[in-house]
């Protein structure tokens, strides 16, 4: 049966003149396939097999039902001069076609139950990663001692895709590598380790989904859901947010880089030392220009999606920063709003470091023709936290 499917698959590919196999990421991700990927984890294999089983049962029932229908349509037509029969019930037949489907359903329910129990079994996980959905990026926190504890970063759509996806960008998406499926900082995990994924969200519902891992799960603000993965082959796996989460729902991909254990440990060491090196030097005082330059970058990456690149906002939903009361008002209120958020505005205290916060506040007060002229230093931010 697998062969038949492969045949059908390749037939479609020929019809559409697309070499589907080559559009994958080169790591066997198979994004261009017509069917559910067989995947890279034990769960994804099981779910794929389950899917194929139900699919073929449905195909078999379909062949019978449509076969009878087609036979009837050909032979039982008035133009053939047939006399219509008069029968209108047959108790035996009716009982039969109630019971047979019931039996088929039980046959489907048994493997489904087995797989579901496996999906829910997060026991004996070797490490845990907490994933938090934000509008519109993912945050990854490593929680297991010795396997990356202390690593904590945000992952958003990569700059090239982000540029190309703007309305009227005139950039051909086919020229962008992994268009909409690439991020700035991928999640990195070790191969062949059972990893428990904890999911939550900071603002609205999101869902974390990498098709090759076999499942998706909702990330719910205020609640923690979980699931597990154990990726057999090192490689790069791509997915997307799967629960509508607002304007840029389509633009918060997931990229998971799976490394052999040794390489993973190197990566962890590197990340932890980098983290140490990147600590903001709070004793340094920056000029207005320095802050504005840095702030412009931070703004583009974190604020522009809602408040728009020119700070004009979106009437009714996202307030303008250009000429806003906050940007032209007391600086303390401005910093607090950025740090702690308000209604739909997320809290940025975990997303931005002190330097970035100081820079973006300064930029908002001086960019977009606000020209307020004042600034705030990284050293001052801590006081507002």
């Amino acid at each position: 049966m697998k062969k038949t499917l492969q045949l059908l698959t390749s037939l479609w590919s020929v019809i559409w003149g697309v070499a589907y196999a080559e559009t994958g990421s080169g790591t066997g991700v198979g994004w261009g396939a017509l069917n559910l990927p067989a995947g890279a984890t034990p769960l994804s294999h099981d779910i794929h097999d389950l899917h194929m089983t139900i699919l073929w049962i449905c195909v078999a029932i379909g062949v019978i039902v449509y076969g009878i229908l087609i036979y009837s349509l050909i032979h039982h037509r008035k133009s053939k001069g047939v006399e219509p029969a008069k029968f209108h019930e047959n108790t035996k037949l009716e009982i039969l076609w109630t019971i047979i489907p019931f039996v088929i359903l039980i046959a489907m329910a048994i493997p489904a139950t087995k797989v579901m129990i496996k999906v829910y079994d997060t026991n004996e996980s070797e490490m845990t990663i907490k994933v938090t959905g934000y509008q519109w990026k993912w945050r990854y926190e490593y929680l297991t001692d010795g396997l990356g504890k202390g690593i904590d970063f945000f992952s958003s759509l990569d700059a090239k895709s982000n540029e190309a996806r703007q309305l009227g960008s005139k950039i051909d998406p086919t020229t962008v590598e992994h268009y909409l499926l690439n991020v700035d900082n991928p999640l990195v995990i070790p191969a062949n380790k059972k990893i428990r994924i904890l999911l939550t969200a900071a603002d609205v519902l999101h869902a974390w989904w990498v098709p090759e891992f076999g499942w998706k799960k909702d990330a719910i603000p205020g609640f923690v859901t979980d699931g597990w993965i154990k990726v057999e082959q090192p490689g790069i796996y791509r997915g997307q947010c799967a629960e509508l989460c607002g304007r840029d729902h389509g633009f918060m991909p997931i990229v998971v880089v799976v490394k052999p254990e040794a390489e993973y440990k190197e990566w962890v060491a590197e990340q932890l030392s980098k983290k140490e090196a990147n600590k903001v030097d709070l004793s340094k005082t920056l000029t207005l220009d320095e802050l504005n330059t840095k702030g412009k970058e931070v703004y583009a990456a974190n604020c522009a999606a809602c408040h728009m690149p020119e700070g004009e906002g979106m009437a009714g939903t996202f307030p303008a920063i250009k000429g806003s009361k906050v940007a032209l008002g007391p600086i303390a209120d401005h910093v607090k709003l950025v740090l702690h958020g308000k209604a739909a505005m997320p809290a940025f205290k975990d997303q931005l470091n002190d330097l970035e916060t100081a820079a973006v506040v300064t930029y908002q007060r001086n960019g977009f023709g606000n020209n307020k002229g004042d600034s705030v230093q990284p050293a001052d931010i801590q006081a507002y936290k």
Binding site: W12, W16, Y20, T23, W31, G32, L34, N35, L36, D46, I47, L50, H51, I54, C58, L69, S72, H76, R77, K78, V82, E83, A85, K86, F87, H88, E89, N90, E94, P101, F102, L105, A112, M116, V119, Y120, A164, Q166, L167, P173, L180, V204, A207, G214, K216, I220, P221, G222, F223, T225, Q240, A242, E243, L244, G246, H249, G250, M314, G316, T317
Partner: protein, 537 residues
């Protein structure tokens, strides 16, 4: 009166209560046919409005990259397209059919509660004007999907209260229509028209009406909780205040799952009327059809969380909802088998209503298969919120519910207007519609399985070919519907006179075929003879 003058004869005409003249006829009417017509026209207009929104979506998805609309506007389109198609097109169209056909089918002069009938219709135009006006408000219309999930929906601007009030008004309208149908069927059947003699269209509508009364208040309550969360400081759905966003999903789908059967059960009734007529055979398994419909109605209340397999329910919940959902396949299968058995050894002809009915059986069954696949919770962890789901529910709603409505319109149009519709145009409409609907929705199974999430305005390039195909299908489908509108217009204007029976042998299949075409303004002013009723099958 011995010397009846011409004028006196006119005076007597007033006792016939013919329709009033002019615009006010439609505003003040309490006549079931007038109200039915109003509902049907509203349904058709909203079908084009919702369709235009679908074409905005498909135009944007024709190729990767953002070409025409901002993602926020795209989300407004997906939200309004669904709300308008569900509440504006399909439900009013079914209510229109119920109003037109139920009194004629059960041997009654009119609906039981004619003034309420008028009100229940006239709430609709105001609701939809209000809903459409939200597009022009600050922040745009609701953009959180038709499910209106919090917390996202609470980020809606000024549109939120108007969207909620629209739901309230639509709910009131539906509940009143449902009460009216139940009261009519229970109290106004002609002598001899027992419950087990009722045409299946009436039966399916009675069950639909009970579903409506049970679930519309739940939806109204849930959206009211959204309203108080947003404006009055409650925290029903806010974890920070002790609430739970998933509670909304349970409430919504407790309404939402019966709602999808509200959209399909009357279709089953229509198909069960049309297939026997054109097979020239009695419906196979009438009693089991009634039981199957009731079983589906009951099951619809106990399967809701299969829309939420990914929210992290306990495993017992996942498994319970899996088993319960799979059960629906049994009564639904019974229906399909009964339709096949009705056609078996019949003497079929293939006029437009029959073509749409056959396409319904074939394509709805397709949607049934994918539905069965999705009921398997572990597999649904992959399918959920992808284009596979989009393909599934469009298969059950477009070649399902909408095809049943097309079939019904062609089937009863000669009865309503007194003129035969243009069969050549009808067939053209059928073939264009059926081919394009598959070009539009079939490829969506593939992109969904291959990993394309739903509700995204832009996608990775490997999905480009199938999306382009889907968009072409959508546009052909959309413009083909202009033929449908023209066929209706043409039949209203004139054409070959229809007999009272309209279709060969139809008299044996329902009381409506014993009335003239078009029928008298007050359908059965005298109860139909008992012999006619006892001969029906």
């Amino acid at each position: 009166m011995s010397v009846a003058t011409h004028d006196d004869a006119h005076a007597h005409d007033h006792h016939d209560h013919g329709p009033a003249k002019g615009f006010m006829r439609w505003v003040t009417t309490t006549n079931h046919k007038d109200i039915g017509t109003l509902y049907l026209i509203t349904g058709l207009i909203m079908f084009f409005v919702g369709g235009a929104m679908a074409l905005v979506i498909r135009a944007e998805l024709f190729e990767p990259g953002l070409q025409y609309v901002d993602p926020h506007f795209f989300n407004q389109m997906t939200t309004l397209h669904a709300l308008i198609m569900v509440f504006g097109a399909v439900m009013p169209a079914f209510a229109g059919l119920a109003n037109w056909m139920i009194p004629m089918m059960i041997g009654a002069p009119d609906m039981a509660l004619p003034r309420m009938n008028n009100w229940s219709f006239w709430l609709l135009p105001f609701s939809f004007v209000m809903l459409a006006s939200t597009l022009f408000m600050d922040g745009g219309a609701a953009a959180a999907g038709w499910t209106l999930y919090p917390p996202l929906v609470l980020q809606t601007g000024n549109a939120l209260p108007f969207t909620v009030f629209t739901v309230h008004m639509l709910g009131m309208s539906s509940i009143m229509a449902a009460i009216n149908i139940i009261v009519t069927v229970f109290n106004m059947r002609a002598p001899g028209m027992t419950m087990m003699k009722l045409p299946l269209f009436v039966w399916t509508w009675v069950i639909t009406a009970f579903l409506l009364i049970a679930v519309m208040p739940v939806f109204a309550g849930a959206v009211t909780m959204l309203l108080t969360d947003k404006f009055f400081g409650t925290s029903f759905f806010n974890a920070a205040g002790g609430g739970d966003p998933v509670l909304y999903q349970h409430l919504f789908w407790f309404f939402g799952h019966p709602e999808v059967y509200i959209l399909i059960l009357p279709s089953f009734g229509i198909i069960s009327s049309i297939i026997p007529t054109f097979s020239r055979k009695p419906l196979f398994g009438y009693a089991s059809m009634v039981y199957a419909t009731s079983a589906i109605g009951f099951l619809s209340f106990i399967v809701w969380a299969h829309h939420q397999y990914t929210v992290g329910m306990p495993i017992a919940g996942e498994l319970y909802f899996t088993y319960a959902t799979m059960l629906i396949a049994v009564p639904t299968g019974v229906k399909v088998f009964n339709w096949l058995a009705t056609m078996w050894k019949g003497a079929m002809t293939f006029e437009t209503p029959m073509l749409f009915a056959i396409a319904f059986v074939v394509l709805f069954t397709m949607g049934g298969f994918t539905g069965l696949m999705m009921s398997i919770s572990p597999a649904d962890l992959q399918y959920h919120d992808t284009y596979f789901i989009v393909a599934h529910f469009h298969y059950v709603l477009v070649p399902g519910a909408v095809f049943a409505l097309f079939a019904a319109a062609y089937y009863w149009l000669p009865k309503w207007t007194g003129h035969m519709y243009d069969e050549r145009l009808g067939q053209l409409h059928f073939w264009l519609t059926t081919i394009s609907v598959n070009i539009c929705f079939f490829p969506q199974h593939f992109v969904g399985l291959a990993g394309m999430p739903r509700r995204i305005p832009d996608y990775a390039v490997q999905f480009a070919e199938f999306n382009a195909m889907s968009s072409v299908g959508a546009f052909v489908f959309g413009f083909s519907q202009l033929i449908f509108a023209y066929v209706i217009y043409k039949a209203i204007q004139g054409g070959e006179k229809a007999t009272s029976e309209v279709w060969e042998g139809a008299e044996a299949h329902g009381l409506e075929w014993h009335l003239s075409s078009p029928p008298p303004y007050h359908s059965w002013t005298e109860a139909p003879p008992k012999e006619i009723i006892s001969d029906l099958h």
